[in-house]
Amino acid sequence: MNAIIALSLFGISNLFLGFLNNRKILLPATLVFILIALGLNFADWNHEYYWFNNMLKTNNLSVNFVTIILLSTFLVVAISRSFGDDDEHSHPAEYYAILLFSAVGAIMMVTFENLIMLFVGLEILSVSMYVLTGSDKRSLRSNEAALKYFLMGSFATGILLFGVALVYGATSSFDIHGIAQGVAKAKEQMGGAYGPLLYSGVILIMVGLLFKISAAPFHFWTPDVYDGAPSIFTAFMSTVVKTAGVAATYRILSISFPSVYGLWGNPLVYIVCATLIIGNITAVYQQSFKRMLAYSSISHAGYLLITVLAKRPETNSSLLFYSLAYAIATITAFAVLMVVSEAQAKNGKADESFEALNGLANNNPLLAFSLTISMLSLAGIPLTAGFFGKFFVFSDAFSNPSSLFKWILVIAILMSTVGIYYYFKPIIAAYMKKGEVAKIELSPLYKFILILTTTLTILLGLAPDLVKNIF
């Protein structure tokens, strides 16, 4: 909770630090700010606490989610390299400030206790992302992506708001525990059935949230937006926004609507299957590494939703572990993509296709190795964090007594094997294909982050209990 206040203030101070005309100071300052917020976040550890008349609630689960969000933000800021030296076209003070504001929104989305907080948090996160998507004002594709994201995103927020209003009509409460009581009461009065207000409300809330985490069939914006946005913000979008969105979905479905499981569970089954199939199959056909990562993020939303759907006691920890493994691997992949695509730029345009990676291993062993580990982790190969993430998710689904989950598992495992095919493409390009990538000079911080994330991925793959016991 204190992290929210601190990050808001830090965001403002970042803006005013920008007037010093010294862009070197911004990166370390932002990193320190995030570390302070992380420290404040741990102050809530092992307390269950309600803030401001039940607006927010912090417990160990939310502290863990906030940690993942702040860690991802930290890594993204660390690989941002102060956004180059171009004073005319890049404005790091604004970017860092807006990133901190969006972290505020994301934290609210994982700690909310009242649907109003969910809405405001989602709005802060979305508005910041619209701006950051269009931050490259010279690039036509960035502008197009921002406009698309803005139009569709605001429509989805409207639908979410409609759902909230209808649920309020059915249960006369905005509080997520109050809604659970209202649902139980309404069910009692109607003899086990649920009214149309609740039905439509839950569906509309789900649509609004699933849009934000780009689950099929609400995923159409994802490839264009992820492709058009500057890579660094795509990395932020596919980790922080996704983690916050899944956490919010899980929070509201598991706390407010556990007694009406059939109502949201049945549509979610189809959504999960569609997300897995569309995300993985379409990713196979991509020529661009960045676009492939966009589709991969769709498919990972599908895996994350499996455990939300399974509704086991272990869901908390599986969700946390998967989000962590996915966030670290994705940020590593984007870190490699960013430097390589800039080094391979043609006519001043960054080359984000698979061909840009050809022969990467010859001169840049560290980049190639990090890329390999992150791809293996995303594919779910043993000895990486991604394997255990998938393992925990699948075992949640397996331990659910419903026979439906066997079929979901079959689809999920089939699609994971499809995933292995396209995740190996960049690895093959980097090691086997003929090509020349000049030696890329990396700053010490950049190297450190690459080594850190790669080590973490392997460490979590060897000893998942290290963090699994905390979660």
């Binding site: 808001s8 403002i12 803006l15 005013f16 007037f19």
Partner: protein
Amino acid sequence: MNYQPSDFLPILVQLVAALAFIVATMLATHWLGPKRHSVLKDDAFECGIESVGDARTPISVKYFLVAILFVLFDVEIIFMYPWAVNFMGWVKSTSDVAITMFLEMLVFMGLLLLGFIYVIKKGVLTWEK
């Protein structure tokens, strides 16, 4: 405090008055203005140079920023309105309550004001550089 829908009638009246004023003045100038017709005056008359360009060229994007700022502070006013309605009540109850409420609004205003100071310092609103 109760109200009736008819309490909002003045808004409608004002709208009608505003529209009626425009229509009335336009009609009045047509009717009241002296008109003298003659063969020569009504004759088609052409001279001068060809007009260049377009009267409706796109205007500067800076106007748009002003419009956005206006909407944002409009929203802020909406938040202030229910606060202001209650404020005298709070002042009359206890001074502690009034100070708390004042500080809460001050934090909200302060956030927006800091944003506004940033915009001004950044020189976004300066017209000519």
